[in-house]
Every structure is written in C-alpha cells, then in structure tokens.
C-alpha cells in the first residue's frame, strides 16, 4: 500500500501511544463500584465470612504458627474477597463485548494490550479495597493475633497474588457470554476456595480429596500467603501450582483475546 508522506502526523501527548491514562482506571473503578452486586460480594461477604468463621470460640484462639487460627481465617477470607474482586473485574470484558464496547474501542488508538492493563489495574484497585476491608474489620474484633509484620506481609501477598485471578477473570470473560458469567464465577470460585482450603483446612479432607485439592488453582496461592503466619516448611509444589495455573489462565486469556481482536 502506498503511504505518501502527508501532513497527517499525530499530535504529541504524554498518552499519545494508545497507552493507559490514569483517568481510565479511575472511571473503570467507578463502574465497578456502581455494580451493587459486585460490591456486595467483594466488599461485604468476605468480611461477613470472617465474622462467621473467624470468631468461633471453639478454635479461634488456638495457636497457628506465629499467631492464632482467627488470623489464619482472616488471611483466607481476605484471599477469597480479593480473588472474587479481581475475577469480577476481569470478567467485565464479557459484558463489554456484548455491549459492543470492545468494538467501539477498536476504532480508537487504545492498544488492545493497554485495555487489558486497564482491566487488570482497576480489578486490583477493587481487590485492594476488599483486602483492606477484611483486615480492618478483623482488626476491629481484636481476635486475630499475629506479629505486626505478618499483618502487613500477608495483606500485600494476598493482594499481589490475586492478580492471578484477574487473568482468570479475563479468560472467563472472553470465553463466556455475559448473561451468566457472574453466576458461573461465583460458583467456580466457591469450588476453588474449598479446593484451596480457604474454608475448611485441607487436613480435614479425606486423603483422596486432599490429593485432588492440591491441583486446584487456589491451593498454591493459599499456602503461600499463609506461610508467613504458619511457618510450615516451604514447598515448591505451592509455587508449581501457582505458576502452572498462572500460565494456563494467561494463555487462555491471550488466546481468547487474540481471537476477539483479530481483524476478520
């Protein structure tokens, strides 16, 4: 194709290359916050679960590593909330594809990869809020006990680890139609959470089930984020689990994303 040198050069600007403008992330977060259903499940339910499971006097004060069981439940519920938040944020692409918004974006300079980055960033903001709420509510009860640095480190680990599920959300969002994507996510994450031992310790599972659970996507992440508290011997199987699932979700998201943005 002939491309004569014409006076049609782009105007210069800091965000001229179709990149991520911070205002876009703000607007995306605003959209997430406007969805009452998302807010309820990511901000209220995890804190509520902590209050239900984390304060039970029959075990809450029992020792667990450098803290108590209540602290362990806190970390589990924060992780549950964070992965719900990031998955929901990623899965919003499903609704946007159905609304023709993705198509609209394709006739703007925004690069497809930048769009994914915006989705991830806004999901992580929601995830951070979810983690913060669970930690603040739990701290307010005065029941969890762990060294100060463990409070900080586990919160950061939970938040950072939930990025894995932003990839999962994108994958699911590109894969499923919008009508039932949120219901599917709620159900699947519930299964993953049981498999990862977030709700019931894996030690209480039947041996066969326990083996199976080790292959589910929240297992490695859950063990890793609890490690600063429990001080159980580090296992490379956790890392292997995390890396494999990260690869699966990312590859899945990239595959569907390429398909979605391909010029036909």
């Amino acid at each position: 194709m002939n491309t004569p040198a014409v006076q049609l050069e782009p105007a210069g600007s800091r965000w001229a290359r179709g990149g991520v403008h911070p205002a876009l992330v703000c607007l995306e977060v605003r959209r997430l916050v406007r969805n009452r259903r998302t807010l309820l499940f990511t901000m209220v339910v995890p804190a509520m679960f902590y209050l239900i499971f984390g304060l039970n006097s029959s075990y809450a004060a029992n020792r667990d590593g450098s803290g108590n069981v209540s602290a362990s439940v806190l970390i589990s519920m924060a992780l549950y909330g964070a992965v719900l938040a990031t998955t929901s944020g990623g899965a919003m692409v499903s609704i946007e594809r159905a609304a023709g918004w993705s198509r609209q974006l394709r006739i703007t300079p925004l690069r497809p990869a930048a769009y994914v980055a915006i989705k991830m960033a806004s999901s992580m903001v929601l995830g951070a809020a979810s983690v913060a709420i669970v930690y603040v509510v739990a701290a307010g009860t005065g029941k969890p006990s762990m060294p100060a640095w463990v409070w900080v480190v586990t919160a950061v680990l939970v938040w950072a680890g939930s990025l894995l599920f932003a990839a999962f959300g994108l994958f699911v969002g590109y894969l499923l139609p919008s009508e039932n994507v949120m219901q599917v996510i709620g159900f699947v994450l519930m299964l993953f959470s049981f498999g990862g031992g977030l709700f019931i310790p894996l030690s209480q599972f039947a041996p066969a089930l326990r083996t199976l659970a080790r292959f589910t996507p929240l297992y490695g992440l859950n063990e890793l984020v609890h490690d600063p508290l429990t001080r159980s011997p580090f296992s490379w199987t956790w890392v292997a689990n995390l890396v494999v699932w990260l690869a699966v979700f990312t590859a899945g998201a990239v595959w569907r994303f390429r398909r979605d943005t391909a010029r036909v």
């Binding site: 782009p10 600007s13 300079p109």
Partner: protein, 333 residues
C-alpha cells in the same frame, strides 16, 4: 447516463494520480478503495468496489439491507480486512489512520457502557486519543449538555445516538463515518440530528454515511453512491442518480408471452402476469417501439415511477442486464 461514465472516468483519473504520484502539498483521497472484495465463506458481501472520496465531500452510501454498506465501512475503519483489493484512508492503512485520530465513526447500535454517565463516557473516550476537542464543546454540538449526568442506560435511543455522535466528534476527525445514523429515530430527532451533521460538514469535514433512506441521501449528501449486492450501481449527485433512477414502467397486453424470449428481445427483465407484461426500464421508448413493432403486444401504457420505486428498481434483485452499463460507469471495475 453518459454523465456517469464521464464521472467515472474522472474518478479513475483522480485515482490514478493519487495512487501513483502523491500531489505535492495536496491531500490524498479521504477514502480510496481499489477493487475491494470481501467474502464471508461463500458469500461475497462486497464484490469489487472502487471508490474515491475527496476531502470535504459528503457522500451517502445508499443501498438496501445486505448491500454491503456496513462491511465496506468496517474495512475503511480497519475492523475488517478485505479479501482482496486495497483500502487506504488519507493514503494510510486504516488502522494507522484510526490510531492517529484521523477517522472516527458512529456505528450502528451498541458501543456504549450503560453504567457510565453521558459526560463520563466522553471523558473516557477523550482519554483514549492523543488530543481531542473539549468534552463540553462536543456535548454542546451534539445537543446533550442537558443530559450530561444521566446514566447511558437511562438515555433514549435518540439520546444515545447523539452521544455516539459526540464521541465521534471528540478526536476532531478529518473523516467521519456514519453507519445508519438515524435508524430508530423519530422524525423530529432525525431532523435535529441532520442539522447538527450538516453544520459540522460545512466546517469542511469529510463525511460518509450509510443509509437506506433515500430522502436522507437526497437532502444531505453532495454525492450518492448506490450499492447493490456488493457492487456500486450508481455514483453521482442526487440529481444525477434520480435522473438515472427515474425510469418508466411499460405495461402491455400480450397473450401467451414467453418471458425468456421477451427478455432476450428487449434486453431487460420482463415481468409476466397472465396476459399482462410489465417492464421497468430507463429506455421506455425503445421498449415500447420493439414491443409494438416486433411482437403482438397491444394496449401499451407508459407510466413514470416515483423516486422510491426507482430506488427499488435500481437496487432490486434481477436487474443485471439493464444496469450493466451503469455498473461499469460507477467505477466498480
């Protein structure tokens, strides 16, 4: 009809100039399609379209549903890739032109987020471009200042369409594509919408709009490109197309008419209803002469057709024979 051939010849000359030697200091065509084909499986949505749109032109891309209007627009926007042929926008690859904010579009339906407000949608869009007109300005021009804080999901169809128009204005594009822009609008909204477009066009923007409303093309376009089954069947000013399209209907009685034979004789498709034969043709006199001289037809009657009829005739299915010259004249080679 000669005018169309002339016009096509001019277009070909223009095309030759722009595609081989860029005019020094001049601007390449806003849109340049060269023998563009687009197939979806076995179906040819666009079957050999060549078209130049010069900067500043307001062109109506007219045709019935399924004529290939949206497919062509998708290719100009870089959303679809032609199966063969080339598409250039201001001499650039369409995706490059989009990235530089040279072209924007008002697409058919969708493309909005229900959970943002009107103003937020425009802010969002404005941050996607290197530089844009102020959000307040485009809201003013699209007439949506009053609903700036309304959620998009609560806006009427006409309001959403005006929001899409405002979004399309944001990058201050040199080329604006409108795909069925007034579909689903009432008369009032449609008039208001076109008033805004017209005002915008007077500022020198190139506008290509797809429509199947003949009267819209007539009233608002400098030039009409008529599409049928993926081919350009006419290309000219509204007056030229109307003159061409405003053929006549010849009706006569001919017992035992053989349709195939008549079609061969008259060089145009013939409708046979019992003893009555009906011919839609731009050459009513020739058809009448042949019918009276060479067949046993009687009770012959010639009637002028309305504009709407003419449009249907130009874009209807079995008209490959009479329009052959026009097809080539339109530059669809």
């Amino acid at each position: 009809m000669a005018r169309f051939v002339d016009r096509a010849a001019r277009a070909r000359v223009r095309g030759a100039v722009t595609s081989s030697t860029p005019v020094p200091g001049g601007c390449p065509p806003a849109v340049e399609l060269r023998d563009v084909h687009k197939h979806f499986g076995q179906v040819a949505a666009v079957a050999g379209v060549s078209l130049d749109v010069q900067p500043g032109e307001v062109v109506a891309y007219l045709g019935p549903n399924g004529a290939g209007k949206t497919t062509t627009i998708d290719m100009i926007l870089g959303l679809a890739r032609p199966s063969s042929g080339t598409v250039a926008v201001f001499g650039l690859d369409p995706t490059v032109a989009v990235r530089r904010g040279l072209v924007s579009a008002l697409m058919q339906g969708g493309g909005l987020l229900k959970d943002l407000t009107v103003a937020e949608t425009l802010q969002y869009t404005s941050h996607l471009f290197p530089s844009t007109r102020p959000v307040a300005e485009v809201m003013q021009r699209a007439g949506i200042v009053a609903i700036a804080d309304r959620r998009v999901g609560r806006c009427s169809g006409g309001e959403q369409q005006r929001l899409r128009f405002a979004m399309a204005l944001l990058p201050d594009p040199k080329l604006l594509l409108l795909d069925e822009p007034t579909q689903g609008m009432d008369v009032e909204a449609r008039r208001g919408f076109w008033a805004a477009i017209r005002q915008d066009a007077s500022a020198g923007r190139t506008i290509v709009f797809a429509t199947h409303y003949l009267e819209e093309a007539d009233a608002y376009a400098d030039r009409i490109v008529l599409l049928r089954k993926g081919r350009i069947v006419a290309d000219g000013t509204a007056a030229e197309v109307k003159a061409m399209a405003a053929g006549r209907t010849v009706r006569a009685t001919l017992p035992g008419a053989d349709r195939a034979e008549l079609t061969r004789l008259l060089g145009t498709d013939v409708e046979v209803r019992g003893d009555t034969i009906i011919v839609h043709t731009p050459n009513a006199d020739d058809v009448a002469r042949k019918l009276l001289n060479e067949t046993a037809a009687f009770d012959l009657e010639i009637t002028a057709r309305g504009l709407e009829d003419a449009f249907v005739a130009l874009t209807a299915e079995p008209t490959d024979l009479p329009l052959a010259d026009v097809t080539y004249g339109g530059g669809a080679q």
